[in-house]
Each structure stands twice: as C-alpha cells, then as structure tokens.
C-alpha cells in the first residue's frame, strides 16, 4: 500500500499519520509538500491534522488554495481513497469535497480526550461492519459538524454518515460519553457521495498501537488495505 501524507504549513499530525502508516501498518508512506503538485504513485491520500496556515480566517480555509490541492481533487475524482483527519476533515469541507462545515466546539474550548464512536455505514475505511464501536481520541477546538436539515437528510439517504459519537456500549452519547463538541446528529465523520473521501474529527492514527494503550484505529487502515485489494 502506497500512501501520500499531505503536508501543509502548520500540519502537525503529519508525523502521526506517516509513522502509523509506515511503521505500524507497513505501508510505503511519504510526505507530499503543499507547494508541490505531485502525489507520486499513491494508492491513497491522507490529509493529516494540525493547524494549516495557523487556521487563520477559518480552520482549513486557506489550505484549500494550496498548489497540492488540485492534485488531491484530481485523485479524488478518479475514485482514489482520501482520508482527512481533524484539520484534514476541515480542509476537505472547505475544498467542497465533503458536505457540511466544522464550527467551534459548542463549549468553545479545545478538547483532547478519548471518545467512543459507532460505525454507521460501510466504505473503504469502514468495512468493519455497521454498529462496530471504536474508542479513539479527539483533539480539536473546531469539531462541531454542521449541515442543513436537507443536507442531513441527503447524508442519510446516501449512507454518507461514517461515524457517530456514542456511549461505550454503542448507545446514544450521554453523561461522561456525551457528544464532545455539539455536532449535529452526533456526527463524527462523513463520506462523500461516491464514498471514496472520508473526513473525521477523531484520530485513528493516534490509537493504532498497544503501547499507546489503544489500537482501535488500526481497523480503518486495515479496511483501506482490503479495499485496495492488498491483503
């Protein structure tokens, strides 16, 4: 499996993605610097977390105009799998590759902690089956997913909701397991209509090793490998 990890100025979970893909998953992974236009011969693209361009203007807004972006667009339009994590999710919505937008957390604070999420629909990164519960960390200030009522209906109709925040047993988020940012309909990740582009706020690449106390995130990368036909 060959994966390009896009590096914007201000990306800071680029290492987390590269390390996990290369050293844990065993992929051939490399950085694609934003001033270049080449993604190499990648099978998949990851847009990592961070604060691209300082998140000035709006989280992810300026990155959408970087030179590398046209290549990402082209890669996605050919059906190539693209995963945007955290700031990467924000960038994909700003690029218009994913519907909706990410707003400031409802409680207005940055929040870093483990949360639970439930797989809602299958796709290249989520072949583990609907209803599977994963524990993953979040670390963001702008993670409140928002879309219109029609937008939400559209997402449901096309099975685009990838993840919802939930309680540890998979039920509705509540109490200590409450929706961490006020996202509409508890949405933690969405696919595009074609289901080859996934954006999510939680960080699977920070929870893929036993030494980190949690390897639930590995399931997404194993799913990607199977999707690419690389057992």
């Amino acid at each position: 499996m060959k994966v390009a990890v896009v590096q914007f100025p201000g990306s800071n979970a680029d290492w987390d993605a590269l390390h996990t893909l290369r050293d844990v998953v065993g992929a051939d992974a490399w950085y694609a610097f934003h001033k270049n236009t080449s993604l190499g011969d990648a099978d998949a693209v990851v847009i990592p977390g961070g604060f691209s361009y300082g998140d000035y203007l709006r989280a992810g807004a300026i990155a959408g105009f970087s030179p590398i972006v046209s290549s990402v667009r082209e890669f996605a339009s050919r059906g190539g799998p693209v995963l945007g994590i955290c700031n990467g999710f924000q960038i994909l919505t700003e690029m218009g590759l994913l519907p909706g937008a990410l707003a400031r957390n409802a409680h207005l604070r940055f929040e870093c902690r483990d949360i639970y999420l439930r797989v809602e629909n299958e796709g290249p990164f989520t072949d583990m089956g609907r209803g599977t519960v994963l524990k993953l960390p979040i670390a963001h200030a702008d993670g409140r997913y928002h879309t219109t009522e029609e937008g939400l209906a559209e997402l449901e109709r096309h099975g685009q909701v990838a993840f919802r925040y939930c309680a540890s047993h998979g039920g509705a988020p509540d109490g200590a397991d409450a929706n961490p940012n006020g996202s509409v309909s508890d949405i933690a990740g969405v696919y595009n209509r074609e289901k080859n582009v996934l954006g999510m706020m939680p960080h699977p690449e920070r929870a893929s090793e036993a030494i980190l106390g949690n390897d639930d995130g590995l399931a997404l990368f194993q799913s990607l490998r199977r999707h690419l036909g690389l057992q």
Binding site: G10, N12, T20, F51, G54, F110, E209, I211, L212
Partner: protein, 760 residues
C-alpha cells in the same frame, strides 16, 4: 570618545531616565565611570535590559554556583539556551524551564502563550526537535475574584500555542494559594531530542560571518519586558500592558521546521532565539560566548511598523524571531530554506573582532515606508563585556526569619468524621482532578504519549531517534514539582523536597532520573529575609540534586514576585527528565487488579502536619512544624522502587505528596475504579487525622501481585527501606482501618469536580 548619536525625538540620557529603566543610582554612576562618557538613549536602554535581574542574574548568580551541574550523563550544563543529557546511541534530551509570571498576570492568554513559545525556541535553537511540554502554574486563592479569569486565560494560552505548534503538553502541576493573589506563576518546560554531535550553540564565531535575522518582523511589542520582569507590581501594573508580547504559533511552527532544516545543512556557526531583551541579548550573548564583537545595521531590520527607533528595535520582544550566524558564503542555503517555509530572512550585521557591540542606523530614514535615504551613523558602541561579565553582581544581605512562636506541633482540632474530611480534601482545588486543564491541551500529538496526564506520577513519552542506522524508540519520563508551602516553612528542606518529589515521580513510573532544570520564583531580593530564603533554597536544591543523582543542566530565576510589598511563597520549581530502560517497566499510579497486595514503602508517618493542605484549610495559614527530609533514606527508597520496576514486580506505584497518605490511596483507587482495604501505618502515636493527611516525604504506596511479595520485601531489606504490607485491592470502597470507609464512586465524583467552583 564622543557619545553615539541620539535619534530625533530621543532625550539625552539622565539619572532620571536610568531610574525609570530600572537602574539604581549606583549603577548609573558605574555606567558613567566605565564608559567615561554619557550613554546615548539607545545605549542606556541596552545597558538597563542587560543589567536587569532577568538577564544578568545579578542577585542570584553568586548563589547558583553552588548547584551541582556535572555528571557522566551531562552533555550540556547551564549557560546555553538549554541543557542536555545523554539518552544513549548518540542522542540527547535537551530541556529547560522558564518563567513568564509577570506578563501572564497582566494578560493571561498572551503571557502564557508566549511563555510556551519562548521555551520551545530555547529548545529548538539547540538543534533539538521539541517532543513534550509541561507547565507549573500558581494562582491566588480559589475564591479570589481574579482567579477564574487568570486560570482560564493561562490554560487557553498554553493550549492555544502548544496545540497549534504540535508539541504535546503531557503534564504539569497547579496550586492555589493566597500568596499568589497578586502575582501568579507560569513556568513552562519543554524537552526536545537531538543528535549529540549535531547540537547547536549560541556563539557568534568566525570574524566576518554574516548575521542573519529570520522570522517575524519587529514591532513595538514587549519593549522593556525584561525590565518589567525584574520589578515588583504595584497599582500601576495595568498600564504595563504594552510590555506584553503577542504570540503567533503558526509562525513559530514554520520557524521550527525551517530551523531544523537549516541546521541539517551545517551552514551555520551559531544561532540564538530572540527572547527576553530581543535583538540586544541575542547578539550580545552570542558575541560574548565566542569572545567576539558584533556590528548590526539596524536599517536592515525587518519591521512591521513605521518610525521604529534604535531603542525600540533593540529592546523589542516581538516573538518568533531568530538570529543566525551563517558560515561565510553559505547565506544562500539559509535564504532558500526560509523561502520554502515563507519566512523573512535578511543579513543584518557581521561578526567582528572588536569585542564591542556596535549598532548603526540612519536618523530620518525609514525602510518601512521608504522615507529618507540610508546614511547610517553609530548609535550604540559598547564593550560586550560591560553587558555580560562586568554587569553588576550582588551578594545581597540575608536575614533568617524570626522563628514563629507557634510552629511546635500544630495538629489542628481532630475532626469527627474522617471520611467526610477525605472527601472534602479530594474534592478541593489543590488536590482534585486537573482534567479540566489537561483536556484543553493536545497531550497526544506526535504519537508518543504512553502515560498520559492523570495516569501516573510522571508522564512517559516515546521518542523517535532516527539516524543513518535507522529508527530507535526511547522512552522518557518527565515531571515538574514544588510545594511552596513547605519551602516557606523550611526553605532548605522544602526545596530539597521539591527535588525529591520530582525524582520520586520519575522512579514511580519506572524511570531513572538523568537531569534537572529549575525555575526559582522568589520575592524581592533586596529584602534580606527573601534573599535568605533564596540562598537556603539553593542549598536545599544542591543537597538533594547531589543525593538523588539529578544534576542541574539549565534553569531560570524570577525575582521580585511581589505585589504591593507582599511576596509569593518561595517557589523553586524543578522539572526532571528521566529515562525508562524498557517501556515494559512503566507503572501507572492506579490499582489494577482485585486481590493485589498494597504495601507502604518508606518510614511511616509521624503525624507532622506542617505545611499540609489539610492544615492550611483548617487554619487559613501556611504554618506548622517542618516535616523535614532525610535525603539518604529518600535515595534508598528511590533505588529500591526502581529495582522493583526493572524486575517487573509491581502493578502500580504512587508517592505520598499533597494531601498525604489518605489522598494518595484515594487517587490510586479513583484512577481505575478499584476499592482497597488497608491499615494505617504509623511510626509514632499520633492522632489518626495527622497520620492520614501529613505530607511527610519519602513514602511510596505500591500494589503488587501476591507472588511478588517476597522479592519486594527482600529488595526493601537490601536497601534498608521500611516495608509494610498494609492491605489488598478490592471492593467498592476505600476502607482505612479505624479511620474511614468511603465509596470509591463518591471519591471519584468529588475528585472530578474539584475545579468546578472556579471554572464553571
């Protein structure tokens, strides 16, 4: 020699201006007699910041020499931008802690944020990639009207900077005490990793080499910040707002990546960040370390505002700026890498052999809007030595505090319900959970955080060390500690306890201490009782660092922490970096399995409550007899526990510190939701509440599988460490024989809500 030119609008220097800049009348006289002439306005500015307490360490320097700074593992001791210790295979850990107290009180968000930015630059200036940060915070009493605003602002500022640049904030400590009502403390620590052979130093070597300015443009922010940091606060503090700097973590992220890339090309001969006293201290200190001079062309300084005077350019503390000395002919490489990262870079001067700090600028010329034509004149011409080694050093008078009449054996009134007492303590702001704070910090970025905040006595971070032979993973343990209340009661013993607690925390997660950095926060050194506290504390640190194998490799002194004549508790904060031989040696603080044996290691309590949280809550003052510390016993305890960790005999380890034995057990129960039934170990006949809540040091509570008992007992015997089996893990309550029986769920609930009264 004639006085260099003043700029249009600048007054002649005078004793009045010198006083305004923080120089004493004697120091002004000293300037005149050394220079044999009047200084220019800009020169007076330069001298006053370099002679400020913050830059010159004039009151502390003669004492700091007593700290132990050597050891086989020490790669770089004090005197550079940061210290460094060997972590094997040609790699070292580079670290330092620094205060940003005064700015954070004036403007908590920016003050704290730029404190983080400054310490990160100190570390990456050495050629190290920062891999983790800690912070040590002090606020006024929880119900002081300013405390919520200051706590929220400082935490948001630390998070705002650290989260953006992508260095995990993995731990820290916070204490609330009335002595910090008008003078909070924000001490920021960062550790980074470098190849030992590739460390960079702040030296202006090679006469003729170009000086390159890289990073943010210069503005008027933070002018005279170092002088402000060297003065007491009074009523006019709010008018000091313009002396606070403003941070841009995105710019710093670019600067970090560009610097590490530039360093890898080996085209530099020296580098230093522009921190306190900005352009002045960075150039002067680099010239001093190399025994050279520096000449700056101030007309070439990148700027973001009109009509900057030499005085303003030299004293500005605009953030995210670096000064590099390139090897002649290799400037291009620096410029190319800066362009890649969209950073400004310009040549602003040369290294000279004159031993003088010379600055030129053109009166009436403003490169910002192109007014006038460059035709520079000398505006500063001072011997480097005058600003560094020949700066004033004082052996200030000391006076030991008059012994308080009431110190003897204050134990307070014995409470009726010890369970209720424990619940109250566990739920109070100084003891309870800090999760409201660390949830606002990205503590996991970089995929290295193995023991997260709240999980162990220290943080454990995996670091990736890559060289030609491949990638190695190493594991560092880091902690920062100090309890100013114990230092107030006994400056020597309390400071030694800070080092002991910090190294003990490293040992409790399975690490071996390697080195220490300190941040010595004290009151006005011109007050003999404050100076005495400082000197005593330095001796206490020195004794403990020697006994516990943690040499001091870097540090910072922050004096004049007073408002309207009221000093803070003496707070010599220390941070220790240790290393785990094997990640499987790591230990958390929480009980892990039903049926495990609980043991108490170290001399049991004598029931001395002096300086304890319990006594402060009951008497409203920091009082009581000092608890004292036996450093030999402490060292034996730490060696024994480390040996147990290496032999994988333990399931958890947690030291007894703030709140005492009962709180230690409560925390071990709360962490993973286990109950415990224990007896109360005692060395002397003392009331139960005193045994439960005394903060006597050198005690660790461990849990272990029953079949490890023999080996643990044997290791204790070999090291002469008192061992007592006190109970077992299990049930839903914490039952301390004859004292209390409290549901763990209730303890957890109170613990979790400890900061609610302040932040919600």
């Amino acid at each position: 020699m004639s006085t260099p030119a003043n700029f249009p609008g600048e007054p002649e220097s005078s004793p009045e201006i010198a006083r305004e800049f923080g120089l004493s009348d004697e120091e002004w006289e000293r300037v005149l007699s050394t220079l044999q002439r009047q200084p220019s306005y800009a020169e007076l500015g330069v001298i006053s910041v370099m002679w400020s307490e913050h830059c010159s360490y004039k009151s502390s320097r003669i004492h700091l020499g007593r700290l132990p700074t050597t050891g086989p593992q020490v790669v770089q001791g004090p005197g550079e931008n940061a210290g460094a210790v060997d972590i094997g295979d040609g790699f070292c850990a580079v670290f330092k802690m620094e205060s940003h107290n005064h700015p954070s009180y004036i403007e908590p968000y920016q003050g704290a944020a730029t404190g983080v930015g400054g310490i990160l630059r100190d570390v990456f200036t050495m050629g190290a990639r920062p891999i983790a940060s800690l912070n040590s915070l002090r606020f006024g009493r929880p119900d002081h009207p300013k405390t919520p605003h200051l706590l929220k602002g400082v935490v948001a500022g630390i998070g705002g900077y650290g989260n953006c640049i992508g260095v995990p904030t993995v731990g820290g400590e916070v204490q609330f005490d009335a002595s910090y009502d008008g003078n909070i403390l924000v001490n920021a620590f960062t550790v980074g990793i470098a190849k030992t052979d590739d460390l960079f130093f702040g030296v202006a070597e090679g006469v003729g080499n170009p000086i390159i300015y890289v990073g943010a443009k210069t503005g008027r922010d933070g002018i005279h910040g170092a002088t402000m940091a060297s003065a007491e606060f009074g009523e006019e503090t709010d008018s000091k707002l313009p002396t606070v700097q403003v941070g841009d973590p995105f710019m710093e992220k670019l600067l970090l990546e560009a610097c590490l890339e530039i360093f890898a090309t080996d085209c530099l001969s020296g580098v230093q960040d522009m921190g306190a006293a900005g352009l002045t201290s960075s150039s002067v200190e680099m010239a001093d370390r190399a025994g050279n001079g520096i000449e700056l062309d101030l007309d070439a300084i990148p700027r973001r505002t009109k009509a900057l005077s030499p005085y303003e350019m030299l004293l500005s503390e605009s953030q995210e700026r670096m000064l590099m000395v390139a090897k002649e002919g290799r400037e291009r490489e620096v410029f190319d890498i800066c362009a890649k990262w969209d950073l400004d870079a310009s040549i602003v001067g040369r290294v000279t052999d004159t031993g003088r700090f010379v600055c030129k600028a053109t009166p009436g010329y403003d490169p910002f809007d192109g007014t006038g034509k460059p035709d520079p004149v000398v505006v500063v011409d001072l011997p480097v030595d005058l600003l560094t080694n020949a700066a004033p050093k004082y052996d200030r008078p000391q006076k030991s505090r008059a012994e308080q009449a009431t110190v003897v054996t204050m134990t307070g009134d014995a409470p009726d319900d010890l369970g209720a007492e424990l619940l109250r303590l566990v739920g109070s702001p100084n003891i309870g959970s800090r999760s409201w704070i660390w949830r606002q910090y990205d503590h996991i970025v970089r995929d290295g955080t193995v023991i997260r905040p709240g999980e162990g006595d220290a943080a454990v971070v995996r670091v990736f060390c890559e060289d030609e032979s491949g990638m190695r993973e190493k594991y560092l343990a880091i902690s920062c500690d100090c309890n100013g209340r114990h230092v107030e009661i006994d400056p020597f013993g309390g400071a030694a306890m800070a080092v002991a607690e910090c190294t003990r925390n490293i040992v409790c997660v399975g690490g071996k201490p390697l080195g220490l950095t300190d941040c010595l926060n004290f009151g006005n050194p011109e007050m003999p009782e404050q100076m005495w506290r400082f000197a005593q504390a330095v001796d206490g640190l020195a004794a403990a660092c020697s006994a516990l194998g943690a040499p001091v490799v870097s540090g910072n002194v922050s004096l004049y922490n007073e408002t309207d004549g009221k000093a803070i508790l003496p707070t010599p904060t220390v941070a220790v970096v240790g290393q785990l031989e094997d990640p499987e040696h790591r230990l958390g603080l929480g009980f892990k399995r039903e049926g495990d044996v609980i043991a108490h290691l170290g001399r049991p309590s004598r029931g001395v409550l002096g300086g304890s949280e319990w006594l402060v809550q009951h008497t409203g003052s920091v009082t009581g007899a000092p608890v004292g510390i036996d450093l030999e016993a402490e060292a034996s305890l730490q060696h024994a526990v480390l040996q147990m960790a290496h032999a994988k005999l333990l399931r958890s380890a947690h030291d007894v510190s703030d709140g005492g034995f009962a709180v230690c057990l409560a925390e071990a129960c709360i962490a993973n939701g286990f109950g415990a039934r224990v007896t109360l170990p005692a060395d002397e006949d003392a009331p139960a509440h005193a045994l439960l809540f005394s903060e006597e040091p050198s005690r660790i509570v461990v849990s272990l599988p029953p079949n490890s008992l023999g080996s643990v007992h044997e290791i204790c015997a070999r090291h002469g460490v008192p061992f007592e089996k006190i109970g077992t893990v299990g049930g839903d309550t914490l039952m301390i024989d004859g004292a209390c029986d409290v549901p763990v769920e209730e303890l957890a609930e109170r613990h979790a809500r400890a900061l609610d009264s302040i932040v919600s």
